[in-house]
């Protein structure tokens, strides 16, 4: 009999009930909640006279609408303010394990604060009304985004109605070259499998490159599993996972620690398990990546030239390239390095952790942001990340180089607050989506790593960070 994959183990250990057609009820351990996708769910509970099944499973915090500067003015947009106040009110009424309101010293992006406080643990099921919940898979948790109806369902029943996905293995072998980061690995994977490559699958990321990454780097890769079509990305927990968690507020304590670590060591794919799909990459082949189009799969190494639709034989793909070039204001065959930028955004649940800021600061240290760059901003992922960066003096490096040092939040990743691109503006962004209008209507987004974003800020156009 074939062994089990890590996904199989996580699924089986949370299965409450299964119907004949495979429709299942999965028990949910952790429910992350933010202001955008929860108000209608709380309202649904209220209308039905229901209470949360286990409010101690809830970790909540506003992040999408919160401003990243002038906090003393509060939230100026009344529609945004109402949404954030609605979360305050709902948590007060229904309860939670953790709640950091706007301006709390620990507030931040929900996918950054969860791991920071040890509320994401190996072997858990983690859901949130947010597709980047896949981030938490880096801990060996089954973690994925859900819709608002499902948010209400999880609150009311502590379960999710689900159908099991297929198993996909993405193995990144060997070693990464100098200057290559987890973000480049994530983008290279999406470039290879396509934006729908993982649809219907849970992706397990494995291989020497993955093992060699820090927890921050692993979170970056799992975060972007959804951009490859997979709701969940997972990595087997190891010694680094345990080291990261030890001593955090909600991590197992004292006598339970050994028991927990022993259980976590069983959370790996069995040697004789069979995957439905396997993709392998060689770490040494991965170059710094830059997206040129309006889908994360439209990505190329820094040394490449922008694609020419005339060379594409598939008519649907040709149209996609033509649409993307038109929207992005690029010419076929131009070098990626010739793309000039207007704004720089370092932040988001993909790349706003301390290691990301350190990588950008190394590049920015002692340099100046190019005069042609309108705004370059660094938005830490949480209050904790911000304070740690300030203790290390990273804020000074950024400010001296001409970057703006902001308060934590989702910010210009999706531009629900005031941080956004104007029509036609071009941004090097460490976020996760380069969709049309994502960072502001008519805005043009190029996804890159924090180091590549910092290097682009200094040069005013894309450069190979390995030569800086």
């Amino acid at each position: 009999m074939a062994g089990k994959t890590l996904y199989d183990k996580l699924w089986d250990s949370h299965l409450v009930h299964q119907d004949a057609d495979g429709t299942s009820l999965l028990y949910i351990d952790r429910h992350l909640v933010h202001e955008v996708t929860s108000p209608q769910a709380f309202e649904g509970l209220r209308l039905a006279g229901r209470k949360p099944w286990r409010n101690s499973s809830i970790v909540a915090n506003p992040d999408h609408n919160t401003p990243t500067k002038n906090w003393e003015k509060g939230i100026e947009d009344p529609v945004s303010r109402l949404q954030v106040e609605t979360l305050d009110k709902n948590i007060k009424e229904f309860g939670s394990l953790v709640y950091f309101p706007f301006k709390d010293k620990n507030q931040g992006i929900i996918h950054v604060i969860g791991p920071e406080h040890g509320t994401t643990l190996p072997g858990m099921t983690v859901v949130c009304g947010d597709s980047h919940t896949s981030t938490h898979g880096a801990f060996g948790a089954l973690a994925h985004g859900i819709g608002t109806s499902e948010v209400e369902h999880v609150m009311a029943t502590q379960t999710l109605v689900a159908k099991k996905s297929k198993n996909m293995l993405v193995k990144v072998n060997g070693q990464l070259g100098v200057g290559i980061t987890a973000k480049d690995v994530a983008l290279a994977i999406i470039g290879k499998i396509g934006t729908a490559g993982g649809t219907g699958h849970a992706i397990e990321f494995a291989g020497d490159v993955i093992s060699s990454l820090s927890m921050e780097g692993r979170m970056t890769i799992c975060n972007m599993a959804i951009e490859g079509g997979a709701r969940a990305g997972i990595m087997a927990p190891d010694i680094k996972t345990a080291e990261y968690l030890k001593g955090r507020q909600y991590a197992p304590k004292a006598d339970q620690w050994e028991q927990a670590v022993a259980y976590w060591s069983t959370l790996h794919t069995d040697a004789n398990a069979i995957f439905d799909a396997v993709v392998e990459l060689n770490g040494a082949d991965i170059q710094p990546q830059v997206t040129w189009g309006t889908s994360p799969e439209q990505v190329l190494p820094i040394g490449a030239t922008v694609p020419d639709p005339a060379k594409e034989t598939d008519p649907t793909k040709r149209t996609s390239i033509e649409n993307a070039l038109k929207y992005m204001g690029l010419t076929a065959n131009m070098p990626i390095k010739d793309i000039k930028l207007d704004k720089i955004f370092i932040g988001s649940c993909t790349n706003s952790r301390i290691e990301d800021l350190r990588a950008a600061a190394v590049v920015a240290k002692g340099k100046k942001v190019a005069s042609t760059i309108d705004v370059a901003m660094v938005v830490p992922g949480s209050g904790i990340v911000k304070r740690q960066a300030e203790e290390e003096g990273l804020d000074k490096i950024f400010i001296e180089a001409g970057f703006e040092w902001r308060e934590p939040g989702c910010s210009m990743c999706l531009a629900m607050n005031a941080d956004r691109l104007s029509a036609g503006e071009r941004c090097a962004s460490t976020s996760n989506r380069n969709f049309e209008g994502r960072q502001g209507p008519g805005g043009r987004t190029h996804l890159v790593s924090p180091a590549m974003a910092a290097a682009a800020a200094i040069a005013g156009h894309f450069v190979d960070v390995r030569n800086v």
Binding site: V36, T37, V79, A156, A196, A230, Q256, T316, F435
Partner: protein, 212 residues
């Protein structure tokens, strides 16, 4: 939830691959704390030539005449024809809410993003996966024939084209039952309350740290 059994409705072809949820409903409209009223902002950046804001009166906004939803022949369409990976990107249920509020009840595409696909069923929208060949044929016929109407029947899991030609589609039994009867999924799950409690007790014994 709204029940779905059968519709005979006009089809509208949206000829783009990888239509993402930011395109379906841009972020500024996600600030609403309501479930309704998103229809006028469906595909906002493609549909209008000016920038849309929440609560804006859309009846006087300048239309992008080239956009398919703005063409008179597709007015009142209830079936959206789409290309592969429709609904990719975020988990925002505002996307199916906007599609539903606009009046679409069915989306036919070669493939859907997982979260969006699930979200449709929670809102009485039937997402139909058809082969790329069938979808291609539907696009061609829909663009060629004015008033192109399809009959979508959930009990028999079939779609009948104006020519009389038909194809069948897959849908899992539970989703089908819930959609046909417009069932409240939470109420159905709570039938298993004892089972959930028993699971939770055992889970707590095995991994007490999860309940700290």
């Amino acid at each position: 939830m709204k029940a779905f059994t059968q519709i005979i409705g006009l089809a509208c072809p949206l000829d783009r691959a990888n239509v993402d949820t930011d395109a379906i409903i841009p972020k500024q409209f996600l600030k609403s704390i309501k479930r309704t009223g998103f229809g006028p902002y469906l595909f906002d950046e493609w549909r209008y030539t000016n920038y849309g804001e929440p609560d804006m009166d859309c009846s006087t906004r300048p239309l992008n005449e080239d956009f398919v939803l703005n063409q008179a022949r597709y007015k009142g369409a209830q079936i959206l024809l789409a290309r592969e990976n429709f609904g990719c990107g975020s988990s925002r249920e505002h996307a199916p809410w906007a599609i539903d509020d606009y009046g679409f009840r069915v989306i036919i595409a070669p493939s859907f993003a997982d979260i969006f696909y699930n979200n449709c069923f929670k809102n009485g929208i039937l997402p139909i996966v058809a082969s790329a060949e069938i979808v291609d044929q539907l696009f061609k016929e829909c663009e060629a024939i004015d008033g192109y109407t399809l009959k979508v029947d959930l009990p028999s899991q079939s779609v009948v084209m104006p020519s009389g030609k038909a194809f069948t589609f897959e849908v899992n039994e539970t989703s089908k039952r819930n959609l046909l009867n417009g069932l409240d999924e939470i109420g159905l799950t709570l039938i298993h309350t004892d089972k959930i409690k028993a699971f939770e007790d055992q889970h707590k014994l095995a991994q007490p740290w999860l309940f700290a």
